[in-house]
Symmetry: C2
Subunit: 327 residues, 2 copies
């Protein structure tokens, strides 16, 4: 498939938005960026990118609009941008939680063709200076496909994400937020608790803290304000924490009764190793929303969107899914 968009406007030029600007331009898409922060806008301009003076100018003639600002700023940005989005343009975003953005788009920009997006990429660094065109290589990238999502718009965004070297995962906002509670929210909350509690035993721990403290608390290096935008307002994280706390309490009670952490350690080890070693198999599906959502629910992703005149919607999707014998 050739480049599925001609002109992309990226609003918000932090690490994700900036990396997108780099990667889209490298992929042959005409790009224009915008950031409310003048220093960020100037840095992008100095680096040779076209930067608009306001959102309206950025949005003119864009057939792809990317909201790439932090989640708390999305609603205001959307309200400001909505009147300027060209008819027929596709709107997407990059936020960690998809339900709040879905709700905001339905309210403030119902006329747009919206496909919620969440690239699982990025490190503890933030801002334009941390942007790099390779950020998305092999990264999972949730793309929401609701009953009211325009399937052609979804397929075009999926093709673009494949072009960026990432892995579109078809899902709904509700399903992705529930999964993200466990694989992003929970790891961050546990890392914060470890970072804090691990060193609460006195200064001797400062010198003895080594590999397991370092890796376990690594993501506590992330700016706390970002962590809270990934966690707050996600009811599934309450369930995930209840689940984790119950397992920890069970291990705690076993230890207190002269028992062992071995049952938890065995189960944790098995889960981690099975995840690492899971095998995947290739899959081909037509452009069908139910089939796509099923692929995502199975733990699969899309690897390519290819023209197929004989297929529904004129395209066929290649993908990967966990092999039947895995796990």
């Amino acid at each position: 498939m050739t480049v599925p968009f001609e002109r992309a406007a990226v609003l918000g030029l932090g690490q994700i938005g900036g990396s997108l600007l780099h990667a889209l331009r490298a992929g042959g898409v005409d790009t224009i960026g915008y950031d409310t922060d003048a220093d960020t806008a100037a840095a992008a301009s100095t680096a040779g990118f076209t930067v608009a003076p306001d959102d309206a100018a950025a949005l003119r003639d864009a057939d792809l609009v990317v909201l790439a600002m932090p989640l708390p700023q999305v609603i205001d940005a959307l309200r400001s941008a909505a009147p300027h989005i060209a008819t027929g343009a596709v709107l997407t975003d990059v936020g960690t939680l998809k339900s709040p953005v879905r709700d905001a788009v339905r309210k403030h920009a119902p006329q747009t063709m919206f496909v919620g997006g969440h690239p699982l990429a990025g490190v503890e660094e933030t801002g334009w200076a941390a942007a790099t065109p390779d950020l998305f290589r092999d990264a999972p990238w949730a793309l929401t496909l609701e009953d009211d999502t325009d399937l052609d718009a979804w397929l075009r965004v999926a093709a673009l994400v494949c072009d960026l070297g990432a892995r579109p995962v078809p899902t709904t906002a509700a399903d992705q937020d529930a999964a993200v509670a466990r694989v992003i929210g929970l790891p961050h909350v546990l890392a914060e608790a470890l970072a804090l509690t691990g060193l609460h035993g006195g200064p001797l721990g400062l010198s003895l803290a080594a590999g397991s403290y370092r890796s376990g608390s690594r993501v506590a290096r992330t700016r706390p304000e970002l962590v809270s935008t990934w966690c707050d307002g996600n009811p599934a994280l309450v369930d995930a924490l209840d689940d984790a706390i119950a397992r920890l309490a069970q291990a705690r009670d076993a230890l207190a009764a002269a028992g062992s952490v071995l049952p938890l350690a065995r189960a944790g080890h098995r889960a981690r190793i099975e995840w690492e070693q899971r095998r995947v198999e290739p899959v081909q599906i037509d452009g069908d929303a139910d089939q796509l959502r099923a692929l995502g629910r199975q733990g699969g992703w899309v690897t390519a969107v290819v023209p197929a005149p004989d297929a529904e919607r004129g395209v066929r999707l290649l993908g990967r899914r966990p092999a039947a014998s895995a796990g």
Copy 2:
């Protein structure tokens, strides 16, 4: 200080014991190894090391004896070895928990000069094949200094640990086990809980799990039986888990009440960054047990044991401790 021992017997040739055999020989110490596992013994012998047919043969003429088998095997090994340890020889070990080994030595080998040791080195890999002479480079290495520890023996072991490129941390068995509960036991239990709970939301999480799940559950790759030897029987880990669970429950309740994880995230972030950025300053002390234990309690360590005819015990210790303004 020149090599503080002439002949070292290393009993147990897994990753730690094997690495010690490599490093001691590279440091000019005459070494002999022994392992109850015939394949391991053969592998060490094939690699050019002197390997004894039994523990008695290994211990003959050794002025340093290292117990490097897994903790559950230490008591039996000690009972078998004790009668063969030469008078005046120094005994040390490498186990994660120091109180059980201290108690076993007092019972089974009270005549030896015992200095409990715990190198905080090693990765998820285990066994002779994972042994490497550089394993201990810059690693903290707890060395127990109790009221009944022979100070000269302690100083000789500390000098050897410095020669291996590691950082002797003077402490008591009780203090080190309390610290280890928080910086080793807790990170492992949390990682196991995350490895398991993170993927309990269904297969969609398999594809969306990325950086934070990967680093947070990294140490769940460790063999579960090893994890349990580092955790079980350490009462301080019950307290550490109570502390962590209380913080997690607080974050959980805040989320359930439409609040934020921000207070926990801020505190965790601060603890991690302060740990990373802590500054240390050089310190010099004479060979005095109270001063050494104080250095360890402050978060400091020894960098060198140097001859000093004017000083107590004829040596002076160079070290590092957290700078007064740190934290």
